[in-house]
């Protein structure tokens, strides 16, 4: 029994819990990423698949915990018990998910669920004229903190020692040091990146593609407006909180706050970060459950249904549609956007992401 085993168990448990609750983010008409017509959401096969998926998760958890315990006690092997355990958990969860997805896809195909339904793509052409832009003034606090951070760095730079403490042990004593020129950049840069990213998102979201569910267009438009509005509201708040956290860190690093206070400051930072994460989680889950409730509550229009767009989704995860001019596509499962791999810019994006990952791994290997 050691710390590594406990860590691995916790990580695997977290992964399984995440995989469990992730299903509640799936739209009723997209169980496990398979598009189904609205009149089939209560098919018994779907309930079966859900039940088997959850059972699978419990089995995975027990299996991984037992195997981890075995490796940790008999071999005291750290790498196998930790990284191996997490990797195996991920793989098993994926297999569980994949089999659920496959079963629903097969039921849909053999039951010919789309027979007699007219599959359409619907767009609202009236609301496109006035995208509900949020006032970007809400980003001002985040910008002010960002500027403060840069000013702190510039003002303190000449009086700083050549080496700065950037990493602290549990006892509050610095155990890693960084050259001050490097520290000058490594602190404000993440803040600039995240602020730019969140600012870009807040600007982009109101203009994003607006497809409407033909089963219930009015309710769907209302929901989408609300979602966009809420998302644009939380983004400036998020930017402000992240910048605030980074400002406190840079004030410690650049010696405005004494390092002896680190022990008191770190928990505060952790709590702030936790509040941000929990806030986002609550916000997103609430919004998504709202959508699912609305979808089942309202009387659906049965003649027209959303197009079965499974053909564009490779393995249910990667969107490939060369005809579609859109670069960013809303994900079918979970939250966020994915890139259209059929779009030339989408290809450029994916290739550069892979290249960046490969280069950074290569650099690490070279440094060692």
């Amino acid at each position: 029994m050691n710390a590594a085993y406990i860590l691995m168990s916790l990580m695997s448990l977290l992964l399984v819990v995440f995989a469990w609750f992730w299903t509640s983010l799936m739209a009723k008409t997209l169980p496990f990423g398979v598009r189904i017509p609205p009149d089939r959401i209560d098919e018994p096969i779907i309930q079966h698949v859900y039940r088997d998926y959850y059972t699978g998760l419990i089995v995975i958890l027990l299996l991984v915990e037992a195997a981890g315990w075995f490796f940790a006690t008999s071999y005291n092997s750290l790498p196998i018990a930790t990284t191996g355990g997490i990797f195996v958990t991920l793989l098993l969860i994926y297999l569980d998910f994949y089999s659920a997805r496959r079963r629903i896809a097969q039921a849909k195909k053999s039951g010919n669920w789309y027979a007699g339904l007219r599959q359409v793509v619907m767009a609202d052409i009236s609301s496109n004229q006035q995208p509900a832009h949020i006032s970007l003034l809400w980003f001002i606090p985040a910008f002010i903190i960002l500027i403060a951070m840069i000013i702190v760095a510039i003002v303190r730079y000449p009086v700083l020692p050549q080496q700065l403490p950037t990493h602290f042990g549990i006892d509050g004593q610095p155990n890693r040091w960084t050259d001050k020129l490097v520290a000058l950049w490594t602190l404000p840069l993440p803040a600039i990146f995240t602020t730019a990213l969140l600012f870009g998102l807040a600007r982009y979201i109101p203009q994003a593609r607006q497809q409407v569910d033909p089963a219930n267009p009015e309710a769907d438009v209302a929901y989408q407006h609300e979602l966009r509005h809420r998302t644009s509201q939380i983004l400036p708040l998020l930017a402000t909180m992240i910048n605030l956290i980074l400002l406190v860190i840079s004030m410690i690093t650049f010696g405005i706050l004494p390092t002896s206070n680190v022990n008191a400051v770190v928990p505060v930072l952790m709590v702030m970060l936790l509040i941000v994460i929990i806030g986002i989680m609550v916000y997103l889950t609430r919004t998504i459950t709202l959508r699912n409730q609305r979808q089942t509550r309202t009387q659906p229009n049965t003649k027209f249904v959303a197009q079965d767009d499974d053909r564009y989704w490779i393995a249910g995860m990667f969107y490939y549609n060369p005809d579609d001019p859109a670069l960013w596509i809303e994900k079918r499962m979970g939250i966020g956007w994915t890139v259209n791999l059929g779009n030339p810019w989408g290809k450029v994006f994916i290739i550069s992401v892979v290249a960046i990952i490969l280069v950074s791994i290569g650099m690490r290997a070279l440094v060692r």
């Binding site: 007219r118 599959q119 359409v120 793509v121 619907m122 767009a123 609202d124 052409i125 009236s126 496109n128 004229q129 593609r209 607006q210 497809q211 409407v212 033909p214 267009p217 009015e218 009387q299 229009n301 003649k303 027209f304 197009q307 564009y312 549609n321 005809d323 579609d324 001019p325 859109a326």
Partner: protein, 134 residues
């Protein structure tokens, strides 16, 4: 107003867009001066090729329903002249029903009902469509 397309329909997508825009104009949901989304925007909303939307807008402009503008997209603008092919198409449609022995009264009654529907939707205050009745 909602537009919808059926990707798998036998009717070409550009014709689907054209017909719905014209119906929208007829029923008063797209009064003259209304701007339509840009070609790029509509293509992105539907997830279809830009050329398809371009074709629909081009046709609508040639037939005198919209005016294309370089920057703002398209605006509903109606020129009174009916297109040359309208009579031809009307003839073909009526022939279809007549050949199947549908009586003249019934054909006329159907025409009347459709025209009445347009007029009624014109009178609706919020220009809302009734999807449940489709």
């Amino acid at each position: 107003m909602f537009l919808m397309i059926e990707i798998d329909s036998d009717k070409p997508i550009y014709m689907q867009i054209r017909d719905q825009v014209i119906e929208g104009i007829a029923s008063g949901q797209l009064p003259p001066g209304t701007s339509l989304p840009s070609i790029r925007q509509l293509a992105a909303d539907f997830g279809i090729n830009l050329h398809t939307v371009n074709k629909a807008y081009d046709l609508l402009e040639r037939e005198g329903f919209i005016q294309l503008r370089r920057k703002t997209g398209a605006v509903v603008q109606i020129t009174p002249m009916l297109s040359d092919t309208w009579k031809e198409r009307q003839r073909a449609l009526l022939a279809e029903a007549y050949a199947k022995n549908v009586s003249s009264e019934e054909i006329l009654k159907n025409c009347q009902l459709i025209l009445q529907e347009f007029a009624e939707q014109h009178a609706l205050p919020d220009n809302s469509q009734k999807w449940s009745e489709l």
